[in-house]
Symmetry: C2
Subunit: 447 residues, 2 copies
Amino acid sequence: MDQWTISGHDNFHLPFAQPLVNPNRMATTDTKPYMQKLGRSARQAAKVLAIANTQAKRTAILAAARAIESKATYLVEQNQLDLNRASENGLSPAMVDRLRLDRSRIESIAKGLCQVANLEDPVGTVMAKWDRPNGLQIQRVRTPLGVIGVIYESRPNVTADAGALCLLAGNAVILRGGSDSICSSTAIHQCLVEGLKTAGLPVESVQLVTTTDRSAVGEMLQGLDGNIDVIVPRGGKSLVARVQAECRVPVFAHLEGICHTYVDATSEIAMAVEVVHNAKMRRTGICGATETLLVQQDAAASHLLPILERLRDSGCEVRSDEAIGARFDCIAATQNDWSTEYLDAIISVRLVADVGEAISHIQRYSSGHTEAIISNDAKAVARFMSEIDSAIVMHNASTQFADGGEFGMGAEIGIATGKMHARGPVGVEQLTSFNYRVLGAGQVRPS
Amino acid sequence: MDQWTISGHDNFHLPFAQPLVNPNRMATTDTKPYMQKLGRSARQAAKVLAIANTQAKRTAILAAARAIESKATYLVEQNQLDLNRASENGLSPAMVDRLRLDRSRIESIAKGLCQVANLEDPVGTVMAKWDRPNGLQIQRVRTPLGVIGVIYESRPNVTADAGALCLLAGNAVILRGGSDSICSSTAIHQCLVEGLKTAGLPVESVQLVTTTDRSAVGEMLQGLDGNIDVIVPRGGKSLVARVQAECRVPVFAHLEGICHTYVDATSEIAMAVEVVHNAKMRRTGICGATETLLVQQDAAASHLLPILERLRDSGCEVRSDEAIGARFDCIAATQNDWSTEYLDAIISVRLVADVGEAISHIQRYSSGHTEAIISNDAKAVARFMSEIDSAIVMHNASTQFADGGEFGMGAEIGIATGKMHARGPVGVEQLTSFNYRVLGAGQVRPS
């Protein structure tokens, strides 16, 4: 059985041998040239990928999916190495759960790849075209972004999801997963490389950083000598905060999702009850979960009791302002609550005079992710939708719909709250750029 | 007559008094808090502008145009102060010319403002909309970017052009012009502020940095505590290079325009001669001027002589590779020539085997601005158009068409070669962001 090493550049032989992963094998002094080499290789691969046809990219992704399915036993074994280390290192049960790969999760990774392969290839799409009076025909055409750096934590599935999305959009990708999941990520990466080989695409199209030296992240944030075009961090607030603070290249990310739902007196009570309950409680740990409920003063008598009862019946803790606390038995919210992303079964609730005060509260405390208004007052709705400058604003719907899949974009690599280039769900289309193609018949520009 | 000060915050009384501009009036230690205040004021103004209606923005721009026309004498006087200082400081004739405002230039500034006022307001445009199976209606709607920082050199007209474009797109703008043109820029800025007042818009919507302390630029590049969303540098290579190197916020810019025209053997000789001549010689100082001509070997005997003769007849210096030098009397090009933006009546010329070698040369030396192919070979054209990843690629047309006006975008604030958000001409539409608006009827997301 051949030995094989773990980076995308090297040979890759089946059946899979025990990988040579040693999370500490690379000294810090070696990291910079190693990362620079990854950057150069990625840039070269990106040139090939940029003009690869859709069929080749789909073939690569589907072959990777097949490899993941057929190597399930191997993936579970590799994952077990990570789990063993996790238990030695005393990782929290939540982190261990995120890390774990079982047959069902492996199947869902493979299924996710097949879904990405079936998305429309955005590259080459004519986004707009028009003719000029002088006969020039101008087209704006989607092109790949180039090289994308993805920095993530312990979820090994990100290796597959992010790799495939970047690939379909014609981008090379450099993946840097958490050290906790290095064996699992490496095994998944091997499957992606097998897919690339099947399709005849450069194996450097999807590269995994195999050193767990943390300075590798710093190198990526500096852009690897101009060889990374955008960084996508996938993980908790501290990772995203570090990336946003230090990164010298554009970042697609959201730091947190302090999402609001505002209920006014014109809303249907039953709708308000169900939408608020879903927005908070469907899954409390996702970025689109509502963290603060704003209720119009005039709705306090009619709407508040059924809304709060429904939340409490599901085990939600309610922290309220004084006005609500005077009517209902609630924990008193502190100033800090209005700017806290609980990611838990806790909601802060505040009475506001009207939509204007709701907007002011949101403008002050929102993280710019998603906000919703539950109302039947067309004027208030119009004002809310136009004055709230968050990535997503909703009317009469649960903030938990803030998701690329729910938007019909297929898979997403994350949600961005920045205003540049990609905002809201970042799907395959948002991972592209564009250029202008001008078709003439010998036109010259008059003096 | 009231005295008045020169920042957008303060009172502004007509008729215009002698401004209190003293280019050195502000000590470095005062600059940081002064700039921070500009940032905060801009952010506040941006919130109002974001929801201002089209009519108000147009009124402001048209009133500014009228103010500029009616204060022409005052503008000439203020410009004379700059010209006097320029002559004391020994500025080059080219720089003095750029600085000069005469009646005709003032008229054209006013006319430019009227043209911007007549552009379509991009804010609120529904870029895309679709329905989901669950009945949710999703819209992607254009929104302003927020606050734009414009850093420019001695052309006082940028004050008006950039101010008006940002304003129409619903953005607040902080303008930092060169110290050489401070009196002229200040006078133009006063007209913009008068326009804002006429329209009832915040005077802080367009602010001019009135200190000429160079650390003001450094403060802008740091983003003024998150109060600048994008920087647009307008000026020479050294300004742009500094901005790109130091800036902590996104930048819309091109460092230089090393544009190429490739002529192959299938092209019509007469077309090739005229297009190359126009691409190089129409105006040699603009970023879309062709700097390097690549000619297919098979076209050397047929195309090269008439192309070079036409260039030389117009006074263009030709620097060629050895193969061409052996046939024609040319200056020998050095390695350096292939990466030089002459901005002058000089062209570098090289023979290449085919479109593949032309693409390789361009991928190596291009600055990613604009490249053209002159050819009647559909296969070569398709390859060139898809493999060249510059902001603009052209077929059978002069690279001098690389311009927002020529693209039908109306005025442009510049041309960007980055791949993020805005690429190619940056017009009013490119100065916007977008968000998603989701319209529901009480939908909740299934578990």
